[in-house]
């Protein structure tokens, strides 16, 4: 349970070691660069934007080439492969890739060029196919469309829009030019176009064309010198040539797939370099020296000092942070608690002066989660699945790993509560034994069965809620004490404890509680009196002290009274924990609905098959929906009820300057 303490480290070194030192820092990955120095006459910043963008472009080109490779020569990725995390690469392999980077870059370019060529080829196939399409109606013609005619006869090819028979065309033409002698052949007809050739004597050609035009005859737009059938055959040959060309291109791209690994490392290399140049651009540099400054966790500071100081001529200066400086936040927790860090991050990292509540929260998180899901079999399934995933993918990404770890622990807790409440796939053992074996057996609950005694679990839910909330208030008290704000500690924490505990003591022997708990608890008179006085002192104290910042006594009392109204807030907070019961019941009842449905097939082979199907489908659904419910509502109890008592968040995550790779990690010191 700790927010790591940060220190500011400032390094001043010679310019000739600039790149080496930056690379070293990047590889260590423990320093967040943060410059406080303004630019002045001696120290200037270097413009690295150009170099950076060229590296970024190179990384993007390699990424794109990888995407293309995945398109042409897909590597099968299983559903779980996203869990596998980055590969770990030997340093020598990385070095050899970097030495060949020119060559690899050419390969990446070649892949992109090939892809472009393929797209162009495909476009030209489309174009040719269009030409074939427009040629189709002329196919029955045995001469080229541009044939023109013989010495005395003229051929006029063309189209008429509309639907006409040969007779109609003759008729229309006769109306226009009665004495004209023509011979008309319909080549083909489509829905709204007729393709025809008209033959006439050359001397009549002008008159014929005139007459034809007036009935709507149009010359074809594309006139080829080839017999249509031949032209079509040629074009088809062309298409198959281009297709074989495309196949060759695809083959070449696939043959380049062997460079996949190299391209990944190349993309990472340029990405890392781009980051380095970004930092380089921030460094104030004089003629011979440069400065670099930033945050490091205190425990790493000495290591930086030793590593850099021993190798280079430089000054490494460490200093504590200033009072008002907002340091980036890095959490350090035990391996159990750190699994809940993701949940805390989702709410907000501890702000300045706040404690890291992860350790306490992680315990409650797992406890409450199990109570909501509360089925032994479900818990076992969740834990086993998460455990197998963690073992199978040891190099999983960090945030993914912590959430899976968290669910592993939550599964264990669910298993525990399931055994306590006697839930194993709901009531599946009872249902199976009753339906298929005739006599009912079941595993009795270790504690009690919530379905039979819901009020008992309701009371316990609220008790857990009170413990959770009091812990939150306690942490607030701890923070007050730590900051030596004794007045705040007394007024905001101690008085509230007194009031609430007093009220609880008064509530427990009352009739209302007795009717809910179905048991009467009688305290000795002294305890009752103590509770009464604690509540009174607490209430009066809150009214008097809550508004203490205000000088005006009237306003102070009004503010205090308003603060006392927060008792209703506490009431609703505690009632909110009734969801522990409700969600636990939801799991159990839906599970028994599933079992009931399965058992409807009766005691037969068919019945067993129905049962198995209903069991698998139903319980899968129930696990999924109730996992979601338990996750959401545990988060809510932590964020709203628990954190509401003491925690605000608002810290900024520590973002060290490191090798931010996408595909692979290089094997060497990987700390933090």
């Amino acid at each position: 349970m700790a927010v790591l303490q940060m220190q500011r480290v400032s390094i001043c070194a010679l310019k000739k070691d600039r790149k080496a030192i930056l690379e070293k820092l990047q590889r260590m990955g423990v320093m967040e660069i943060n410059h406080i120095l303004e630019e002045d006459e001696d120290f200037r910043r270097m413009d690295t934007a150009n170099a950076r963008s060229s590296f970024e472009k190179a990384a993007a080109a390699a990424d794109q080439a990888l995407n293309l490779l995945q398109q042409y020569a897909p590597v099968k990725q299983s559903l779980l492969s996203s869990l596998a995390g980055k590969d770990l690469i030997e340093k020598e392999k990385y070095q050899s890739v970097i030495e060949n980077r020119e060559e690899l870059q050419k390969k990446a370019k070649r892949i992109q060029a090939l892809d472009k060529e393929r797209a162009e080829n495909r476009a030209s196939i489309l174009k040719i196919e269009n030409s074939i399409e427009s040629l189709m109606p002329w196919l029955p013609l045995d001469v080229p469309v541009s044939f023109g005619g013989t010495e005395h006869i003229m051929m006029l090819p063309g189209t008429l829009s509309g639907q006409f028979t040969l007779d109609q065309v003759y008729e229309m033409l006769a109306e226009q030019a009665p004495e004209l002698e023509v011979d008309i052949h319909i080549i083909s007809a489509e829905q709204d176009t007729v393709y025809l050739t008209v033959f006439c004597l050359r001397k009549d050609s002008a008159a014929a064309e005139e007459a034809l035009r007036s009935i709507g005859f149009a010359r074809p737009s594309q006139i080829s010198d080839q017999v249509p059938a031949e032209a079509k055959a040629d074009m088809e040959k062309e298409i198959s040539r281009i297709q074989s060309n495309i196949a060759e291109i695809e083959k070449e791209i696939m043959s380049l797939a062997v460079h996949r690994e190299g391209l990944k490392l190349l993309a990472d290399y340029y990405r890392v370099r781009a980051d380095k140049y970004e930092v380089l651009g921030q460094l104030p540099q004089s003629e011979r020296t440069f400065l670099i400054s930033g945050y490091v966790p205190k425990k790493e500071a000495a290591r930086i000092q030793k590593t850099l100081g021993g190798q280079y001529d430089c000054v490494v200066d460490l200093e504590e942070l200033k009072e008002d400086e907002e340091a980036p936040v890095l959490l350090k927790n035990s391996s159990f608690s750190s699994s809940a860090e993701g949940i805390l991050e989702a709410f907000g990292l501890p702000g300045r002066g706040e404690v890291d509540p992860t350790a306490i929260m992680s315990f409650f998180y797992v406890f409450l989660f199990g109570l909501m899901l509360s089925d032994a079999a479900y818990g076992a399934i969740v834990s086993i699945v998460c455990g197998v995933l963690i073992l199978k993918f040891p190099r999983m990404g960090k945030s993914m790993k912590t959430s899976i770890q968290l669910f592993f622990w939550c599964g264990i807790s669910t298993l525990f509560w399931g055994i306590m409440f006697g839930g194993y796939f709901g009531d599946v053992i009872n249902v199976i034994s009753r339906t298929f074996f005739g006599h009912e057996v079941g595993i009795p609950a270790v504690w009690f069965v919530p379905l039979d005694e819901p009020m008992k679990l309701l009371i316990y839910s609220m008790l857990f809620g009170v413990i959770h909330l009091f812990t939150g208030l306690g942490i607030k008290g701890y923070m007050c004490l730590r900051d030596k704000k004794y007045m705040d500690f007394f007024c905001d924490v101690v008085l509230w404890y007194m009031l609430l505990i007093g009220l609880l003591i008064m509530l427990i022997p009352s009739d209302i509680f007795a009717s809910i708990a179905q048991a009467t608890i009688v305290f000795p008179a002294a305890v009752n009196a103590l509770g009464k006085w604690m509540a009174i002192i607490g209430a009066v104290g809150i009214v008097l002290m809550s508004g203490r910042a205000n000088k005006n006594f009237g306003i102070r009392l009004a503010l205090g009274a308003y603060d006392l109204y927060n008792v209703s807030g506490w009431l609703s907070d505690v009632l909110s924990y009734s969801r522990l019961l409700a969600l636990g019941l939801a799991t159990g009842v839906i599970a028994s609905v599933v079992n009931q449905m399965g058992s409807m097939g009766g005691k037969s082979v068919f019945g067993v098959i129905v049962f198995i199907i209903a069991f698998i489908v139903g319980h899968t659904f129930n696990i999924a929906i109730n996992l979601l419910g338990a996750y959401v509502h545990t988060n809510r109890l932590q964020f709203v009820e628990f954190f509401g008592k003491f925690y605000e968040g608002g810290g900024r995550a520590f973002n060290p300057f490191k090798e931010n790779t996408k595909y692979a990690d290089i094997k060497e010191e990987t700390n933090l």
Partner: protein, 158 residues
């Protein structure tokens, strides 16, 4: 007249399942429209928006729970049908009302809230934890109604 008792009781189960289920259908539908919009822009957010879309679906399950508890209470699920007086039948009907009505309204509101939360995912996917919290606030009231319905149904002597 005593046969009417079981009719009222069954009507109660029906009200719980029907109203809460209808509310969830509305809510999941509203959230689903928003989710589809986000996925059409960025398919990688599918898992996150799917979870948010599912949140208003729980009211239907709560209705199912009360319906199921009621059915098993009046003996309609195997075993003999219990002899239920009109008064008991009406009691059961009344006990089913909270989850029915609150389920209907809260699921619809939760659907709208979930749609808005899906908007958060579209713009700031890293704020998933907070986005999930807003719809969960609405759900509280459905849970309270579920509790009352459940306690009432199981407390009614048959």
């Amino acid at each position: 007249m005593s046969q009417l008792g079981i009719v009222y009781a069954l009507l109660g189960a029906g009200v719980a399942v029907f109203l809460a289920g209808a509310g969830s259908a509305l809510g999941v539908g509203i959230a689903g429209q928003a989710a589809s919009g986000v996925v059409s822009e960025d398919p990688s957010k599918f898992a996150k928006v799917l979870i948010l879309q599912l949140l208003p679906g729980t009211q239907g399950l709560y209705g199912l729970i009360i319906g199921f508890v009621t059915l098993s209470k009046i003996g309609l699920l195997g075993g003999g049908v219990a002899d239920i007086s009109v008064q008991t039948g009406l009691l059961i009907l009344a006990a089913c009302l909270p989850i029915g009505i609150v389920g209907l309204i809260s699921a619809r509101s939760q659907g709208k809230t979930a749609a808005a939360a899906i908007g958060i995912i579209a713009k700031k996917p890293e704020q998933f934890g907070k986005a999930m919290l807003f719809p969960a606030m609405v759900e509280t009231y459905a849970i309270l109604a579920l509790l009352i319905s459940f306690l009432a149904v199981s407390a009614i002597p048959v």
